[in-house]
Symmetry: C2
Subunit: 305 residues, 2 copies
């Protein structure tokens, strides 16, 4: 029995929110259906944020409607506040993700609130979610490095995670929003969080800005984390965080994990086809280096494991 690792594909949200081209609802549904068909069991399907601020996330309710019915699939959505929570609940999301930044400056830029106000808001939302039977994830952004304040105090992240759990978060997702974490810092912070709160309730979210996403995932695995965000094609980046580039590419993350003997449940070839489709839809080169593996595989030269 290989050990399971859960991939949550955030491409339909984090990947699409900041592209030149805004995809239609049908295209967003087509991407998610492709991901599910490849074996992905958890997707961040969209966000209930202002369609004026983030036009690419408009009509997330219709996207959720388009993928309703698949049982055993976690349909997550990002919500910025209590109103977003209500929209998500009414649209049938299984899981809501609420982001709190570990630094004041970034939190102000992201949601125009102090961290303390964001926490108070989280408490109300998590209580409502518990009552409604909806899973709640608290995501701590800029957990290692903030584009405005520099290195983030690990103690601050520890405290924030504790309060999010206390307020009813089912999971806490630790995010390297700008891709500036390094494996030693990841091993250290995730190890401390895992000892304090248990690794099974933790997830990680890495960007590949400095080519370190896979190294950071390995370091988090070493701290017993078994849940990771990644985005099909490595698309993405935060519109409010300077320097944030693509997410860890799902294709590369699956390749890494399967090669190391973990079971993602995902068919890599099928996943790569979804990646190509996304690249065509957006008319951008999609990242990910797993295609090198595919080429080798076709040549029967270098098996995956």
């Amino acid at each position: 029995m290989r050990e399971k690792v859960l991939i949550n594909d955030v491409g339909p949200r984090d990947g699409l929110q900041n592209q030149q081209r805004v995809l239609r609802v049908e295209q967003r549904v087509q991407i998610i259906r492709g991901l599910l068909k490849a074996g992905v069991r958890s997707v961040e399907a969209g966000a209930f944020v202002s369609p004026k601020a983030v036009p690419a996330m408009a009509h997330t309710d219709q996207v959720l409607a388009g993928i309703a019915g698949d049982s055993g699939v976690d349909r997550q959505v990002l919500i910025p506040n209590a109103k977003g929570y209500e929209l998500a609940r009414d649209a049938g999301a299984n899981t809501v993700v609420l982001v709190i930044c570990a630094t004041e400056t970034m939190n102000q830029r992201n949601v125009r609130m102090s961290v303390e106000d964001s926490l108070a808001q989280a408490q109300g939302i998590f209580q409502a979610a518990q009552a409604d039977g909806i899973r709640a994830v608290g995501c701590i952004a800029v957990a290692w490095q903030c584009p405005f304040e520099g290195a983030t105090d690990p103690g601050k992240v520890m405290d924030l995670a504790g309060r999010l759990f206390e307020f009813g978060a089912d999971d806490v997702n630790i995010a390297d929003t700008i891709g500036a974490a390094n494996p030693m810092a990841v091993r250290s912070l995730m190890g401390a969080l895992a000892r304090e709160y248990g690794a099974q309730r933790l997830a990680c979210h890495f960007h590949d800005t400095r080519a370190l996403a896979l190294g950071n995932i390995y370091a988090a695995l070493d701290a017993d984390v078994r849940k990771f965000d990644s985005a099909i094609g490595g698309i993405g980046g935060c519109p409010f965080a300077p320097g944030a580039t693509g997410n860890a590419a799902s294709e590369d993350v699956v390749m890494l994990l399967e090669q190391m003997g973990f079971d993602t449940g995902i068919d890599l070839i099928a996943l790569m086809e979804v990646g190509s489709m996304v690249g065509s839809m957006l008319d951008v080169p999609t990242g990910g280096r797993a295609d090198t593996w595919r080429r080798l595989q076709v040549e029967k030269d270098a098996p995956l494991t």
Copy 2:
């Protein structure tokens, strides 16, 4: 006091040997001088191989002559055999690097010899090097994965390393020639080698084919390895190993190490300028993601550490 890590820049050899454009001796010297000026203390300056088979490595003696005189610099050269050794010695190399492949098929393709014959040859060369006061490095290629035979038996690598040390190798360099190793396999093999032979006599050489070079370096660091090959600009690849793409980019490796608190002695900005120069000389896009860091740095948004 930060812990030191030694970077051996193999760009002038592994990086240039398989390019469309063959550089002139003056250009090769200019690259190496740039590296040394940036603080690099060890370079693989060239190879004494057949100029017919690898025209880019012709006149390595002139390259060595062009960089003679810098004290405290390790001027390594690759040699395929005893004749290569004599040429290297006469040309003033400090260190000779002899490659043995961990699999029979790859060794045959590389040097048209059995592994056993390569070992016998290594013994003679290492003895001569010892007598001549020249440092000898035994490099074990395809140490994790062979493009022809698949996964490499770690026991085979352990045995080969033991015999190379026994024959007088000062260091043994463990090479992931096609960039197919993963961090767990690296941690495991380098940990076993370090326990058996001591980490201070080991080095690693990674290619970035699957975007795992930095993750693999972190895993090797975790096994106490403190010597790494990398190539300026991430250029390179083995002409005889299908699927081998660029080396770990020196810029990225320095960024990773410095960010994690190690001391490479290398000025990253100066190194990146050498990388741009190499890209212009070869008319190829050079790899490496450290330029993202530079951009962030200039914006004063995300400090390196």
